[in-house]
Amino acid sequence: MCPAGESGLLDVRIERKSFVRASGDHLEVLHDVAFTLARGLVGAFVGPSGCGKTTMLRIIAGLDHAFDGTVLRESGGAIGMVFQEPRLLPWRTVDDNVRLVAPDATENKLSALFDVLELAPHRLHYPGELSLGLARRVALARAFAVEPSLLILDEPFVSLDHALAARLRKELAKLVESRPLTTLLVTHDVEEAIGLADRLFLLSARPAHIVAELPIESCDATRSADQVASIKAEVARLLKTAAPPS
């Protein structure tokens, strides 16, 4: 995932995002979350659970407009999103689920995509007949089928076993590399973030802000164990110092 060196910057400036609780008081979830990401880069967000990562992704995806700040992204480009749950239509086959969002995708492209994700034998199955791992792959296929300029992944491999998650990560890296797109990845797995990302953003506890931004220099998909270990140590140190604000 080397920088593609193209324009088309993703510019996110969320000054404040809060929810009103049932009791009436405000709960501030995001506070001054600002970053930019050049086209072609993968940005990974790591932070404590419940810190507002999903809220941030929803704002960037345009699903939530009730916030202070701005989100600038390439106009006209499609968004591909993989939610925490697969969110497939249970009454449509795998094939129809993908075609619904990507009506212009050619059969060649789709079958290539299904092949990479090893979904070819399942195209005519209904989501209810798939395992969670397969359903997650369909969600990935759907996000790629629209040929997005922005790919948003919300813990796409959570609750999968390690071997399967590792394989899907490899497939994801292959797909991301094959296209010039900007990717946002939320995860709580530091190793996953290091394995996939060009930039690592560390988020604090609620209200979340960006504590540190670590560039991951190596352009090599297979980073050495030493590098991974040193980045992990750095992340652990930074997360520890980013104690929740009193």
């Binding site: 345009g62 699903l63 939610f83 749950e85 239509l89 009454w91 619904l100 007949e129």
Partner: protein, 245 residues
């Protein structure tokens, strides 16, 4: 087997009742069947059944179309719900007879008035059922469609309608039976043909055999619609559900 036993018990009870109450009050199954065959031969039965069936289908379609649109609107748009709810309560509690008589007074003894009156009777029931379905729509799938910028026509067809389908089926089921009962009243009060009209004449002549003959013949027609149309449609719509082995 259980169904057959149940039907046999019903027929036996009918015979017994007929023997006890006398042929005048409750003619036996054989007499009613003969009457059905006679009426069918004379051509009167198909004519009246056809007229009633056409009214049922027209008013049912009308009520389902308008009711589904309004139900979806009220289930999704808060303002529409708050504006429409008092009207709905009025409609729900308006007796069928009042609607029919008002329709005839205002619209004359016409076909349009008859069909409108039946449709208005069924309408609130459809709205309430579909509104419930619209309220239960999955917001997660709605968000998915929004992120992927799926055009609204496709959203209605592939995301919304499949979720509404069970509610539509429920509204259709209760709707068909309700509509045909009201169509009979409409025909009795102001139409020159149809099952309701015939039953009105039979009532004046105290001809219980003919009343039962027409009622049973129409129930037969509805049973055929149910097994040949409604049930296969339901199976098709729910084909994605994993069936218990």
């Amino acid at each position: 087997m259980l169904r057959l036993t149940s039907i046999a018990i019903f027929l036996a009870a009918w015979y017994a009742g007929s023997a006890l109450a006398g042929h005048q009050m409750l003619p036996g199954p054989a007499a009613v069947l003969t009457a059905i065959v006679d009426e069918a031969r004379s051509g009167a039965l198909p004519l009246h059944l056809g007229a009633t069936l056409a009214r049922v289908l027209l008013s049912f379609t009308l009520a389902m179309l308008i009711g589904t649109a309004l139900g979806l609107l009220m289930g999704r748009v808060r303002l529409a719900d708050r504006l429409g709810d008092p009207w709905l309560v009025v409609l729900l509690n308006l007796p069928a007879l009042v609607v029919i008589i008002l329709a005839y007074v205002w619209g004359g003894l016409t076909e349009a008035a008859a069909i409108a009156a039946v449709a208005v009777n069924k309408l609130p029931n459809t709205i309430v059922t579909i509104r419930e379905g619209a309220r239960a729509l999955d917001p997660a799938l709605d968000e998915m469609a929004r992120v992927f910028a799926v055009p609204w026509r496709k959203v209605i067809r592939h995301v919304v309608m499949p979720q509404i389908a069970p509610y539509l089926a429920a509204a259709a089921r209760s709707g068909l039976s309700l509509v045909w009962k009201i169509v009979l009243v409409v025909e009795l009060l102001g139409r020159p043909n149809g099952v309701g009209f015939e039953i009105g004449i039979a009532f004046q002549l105290f001809d219980v055999t003919r009343i039962l003959a027409y009622a049973l013949a129409f129930i037969g027609v509805m049973l055929m619609i149910e097994t040949l149309l409604v049930q296969p449609l339901e199976r098709h719509v729910s084909r994605w559900r994993i069936r218990a082995a």
